[in-house]
């Protein structure tokens, strides 16, 4: 049996990449891709597929890669996912498909499914095929939000012959893919802009600067469209509720990343300002926390991640945590902020308490409890809070047409993504609370299928 070790992708060296915003991971070259594809055992049970939230037929596309049939691999993977170049880069593969790969423990490590998916996705972007499109069916679909769920729903609906319009609140389409995930993890021109151009080629119209619930209401859309998909994403950033949180120099990761990614504040001639300190504490350990920490690092800061649980509990992708460590980011684990201290209205330190892990809580994670008398203060001049988001009240406040949960998320039928209104569907973080690109993409796809089944 082939017991070869998993191939790693080449990356920009850490000392170099902390001085630029270029992509860190360079992906596989052609030869390495073929060798890695060859490691797939095509086991009958295909456990990897069970690990994928949308059940991508992983062995099938890898089989095409083995034959060096790249166009075939694109066709195969496209049956299950719209955004392989994006998901190959941002999915937490080590917790999903790769976690269940039979090679994981004893056969040289899991097949590098994510890197192979990215290879296929990048090939597809470099070799755009004429979009397959059904005849126009004369029906109109409105998609609210242009993040992963909205883009997917729009693409599938357009391919099915619908007249699709996507409404975006920002001046640029892409949602979290452009304002949230940094360039060094997901290139904007090379990947995101091309995905959006593909949708435009399918005839999808984008209406930017349009906030549904404000510029137009859900009622306006109901008058004009046969179906509506709401993919407005996660909303208001959560803060800790500790003293000093409104001092200058304390902000959400959303704000920091939006200023840097969307408004390009990292460029010296940018008009939009961003404050970046010399000693930065980032609170939280999800992907957004890693993104904020590594962005601050690239802007010249010494960065410490402060997280109340342990290493095994960190929700970020394994690769991002590894990359952050390589880039010199410090981790204060089992540590929880209790106060942000300031001088002259500006943050000067963060007081923390050490934690220990107690019994597992409702989420199955062991809940941290403070160790008495362990308080200490770190001297910092910026604190970035990355503790997730709570649902945005904008749509909720402006319509009584759909049902919301007590948490403020939109209630849907999980099979169809249909809401309590028969013409309105929803998916992505607006339904689940902060989650992943792949789940959002899957929701957009389900909704598009349901819209098609109902209207054509």
């Amino acid at each position: 049996m082939n017991t070869s070790a998993r191939h790693s992708v080449s990356v920009q060296p850490a000392e170099q990449r902390i001085r630029n915003f270029d992509e860190v991971s360079l992906g596989f070259d052609h030869a390495t891709m073929l060798e890695e594809a060859d490691r797939c055992l095509h086991c009958a049970a295909a456990p990897c597929r069970k690990g994928c939230p949308v059940g991508v037929d992983i062995p099938a596309f890898i089989a095409r890669l083995k034959e060096d049939d790249l166009d075939g691999a694109v066709r195969t993977i496209s049956l299950d996912t719209l955004l392989p170049a994006i998901c190959g880069r941002v999915c937490p593969q080590e917790k999903q498909c790769e976690a269940l790969c039979v090679r994981k423990a004893k056969l040289g490590g899991s097949v590098a499914i994510g890197a192979l998916e990215r290879y296929v996705g990048d090939y597809a972007l470099a070799h755009p095929a004429a979009p397959a499109k059904a005849a126009e069916n004369g029906k109109k679909v409105a998609v609210v939000g242009s993040g992963p769920s909205g883009l997917t729903c729009a693409a599938d609906c357009a391919a099915a012959g619908f007249d699709v319009t996507v409404f975006e609140a920002f001046h640029k389409a892409g949602g979290v893919l452009v304002y949230g995930i940094p360039e060094f993890r997901l290139p904007k021109d090379k990947v995101v802009a091309k995905e959006i151009a593909k949708l435009e080629a399918l005839g999808v119209k984008f209406r930017l600067n349009t906030v549904i619930g404000k510029t137009l209401t859900i009622d306006d859309l109901l008058d004009e469209y046969d179906a509506i998909f709401i993919g407005t994403g996660a909303g208001l950033p959560k803060f800790m509720g500790v003293p000093g949180e409104n001092l200058n120099g304390v902000g959400s990761a959303n704000e920091f990343l939006t200023r840097v990614n969307l408004m390009k504040a990292y460029k010296s001639d940018a008009v939009t300002p961003v404050y970046c300190g010399k000693n930065v504490a980032v609170v939280g350990a999800g992907n957004v926390a890693m993104d904020a920490a590594r962005t601050a690092r690239r802007m010249g800061a010494d960065v410490t991640i402060v997280y109340r649980r342990g290493r095994d509990e960190m929700p970020a992708r394994g690769e991002e945590i590894d990359h952050a460590e390589e880039e010199g980011i410090r981790f204060e684990l089992l540590t929880n902020p209790v106060e942000i201290t300031g001088e002259n209205g500006k943050v000067s330190g963060i007081r923390c308490v050490r934690m220990q892990l107690g019994e597992p809580d409702a989420s199955g994670r062991r809940s941290p409890v403070p160790i008495e008398g362990s308080e200490f203060e770190m001297s910092v001049d910026q604190v970035i809070v990355a503790l997730g988001t709570s649902p945005n009240p904008l749509i909720r406040k402006s319509t009584d047409k759909i049902e919301f949960s007590r948490r403020g998320t939109i209630v849907v039928d999980e099979e169809t993504m249909g809401t309590s209104n028969e013409k309105i569907y929803a998916g992505g973080d607006a339904v689940t609370g902060a989650a992943t690109v792949i789940l959002a993409m899957g929701a957009g796809r389900k909704a598009a299928a349901a819209i098609k089944a109902k209207l054509v």
């Binding site: 349009t210 404000k214 208001l236 704000e255 408004m263 008009v271 904008l394």
Partner: protein, 274 residues
């Protein structure tokens, strides 16, 4: 792209722009704001909608030349376009529960109270209005305010028009002469809003302020605009921009609003050189 239909000078460094924005004009209400990007490289700058014409599909913005983007905007001519206009954002002003309202505007804040004066006048419940500025030439829309108000009081620091002093001087006069006041709605520089709140607090007069916080998206996502109201953190863009002034932590709000001032200054200098 949104075409600039008309541009007028209304005071030194203050211009009035009538902007084509049909969907905003169709849905907006007094108190709401838009976010503008002047050009494709521009920052996102919030401006209160100070008037709107649903029929012609236009909104009116009063813009004071204070930073890089507002300076760039000042160079535009009628017929030119703004790259992006998004809105209406924030919640509308709701003074419907108050019979006797005093509107107070300072400087560019007058732009925010004007649509309210107009609305109340149209509803047959005109307000008493106080407007203030450092000196007479910095005041604008005086005639319009007079027309739309039950009574107009003017305050200038140097006494060049109206009472000599601040808007608080004029408001104190109203209180002293025994006017019945159910609510004061005040918009202007942070320090002015705070002083008005301190004046009305001992009289128990409800006082509403409009917070012009720093923000990026204006839809609740960045959290940059957070203000402490009654000990709770609120977001000016989605919870406001109007709040009970007696509950606002003004020293925090004033500290936060100055955070990017140095950068603005540097940017402005760069803009003027170009």
């Amino acid at each position: 792209m949104n075409t600039l239909m008309e541009i007028d000078d209304v005071a030194p460094r203050v211009k009035r722009y009538v902007v084509a924005a049909p969907e905003v004009a169709k849905h907006c209400l007094p108190g709401q704001f838009v976010i503008v990007r002047v050009d494709d490289e521009g920052e996102r700058v919030p401006f209160t909608i100070c008037d709107y014409d649903r029929q012609n599909g236009t909104i009116t913005l009063l813009v004071q030349d204070v930073g890089y983007s507002t300076h760039k905007m000042g160079a535009l001519k009628a017929g030119d376009s703004l790259h992006d206009v998004v809105g209406p954002l924030g919640n509308a002003t709701d003074l419907s529960g108050y019979e006797n309202v005093v509107l107070v505007g300072g400087g560019i804040g007058c732009a925010v109270i004007y649509p309210q004066a107009k609305l109340r006048h149209a509803q047959g419940k005109p307000c008493t209005t106080i407007i203030g500025a450092r000196t007479r030439e910095l005041l604008f829309a005086v005639d319009e305010f007079r027309r739309e108000s039950k009574e107009l009081l003017v305050a200038t620091d140097d006494g060049s028009l109206g009472v000599k002093g601040f808007v608080t001087t004029a408001l104190q006069q109203l209180i002293d002469r025994g006017d019945k006041i159910d609510c004061v709605f005040v918009v202007g520089p942070m320090i002015m809003m705070r002083n008005v709140c301190e004046l009305t607090r001992p009289y128990g007069i409800r006082t509403i302020v409009s917070m012009n916080s720093i923000m990026v998206d204006g839809t609740g996502m960045c959290g940059g605009c957070r203000v402490t109201v009654g000990g709770e953190t609120k977001y000016a863009c989605v919870d406001g921009p109007e709040f009970d002034g007696h509950l606002i932590d003004f020293s925090e709000a004033m500290n936060r609003s100055g955070f990017y001032r140095e950068h603005e200054q540097a940017c402005r200098l760069r803009g003027e050189k170009q």
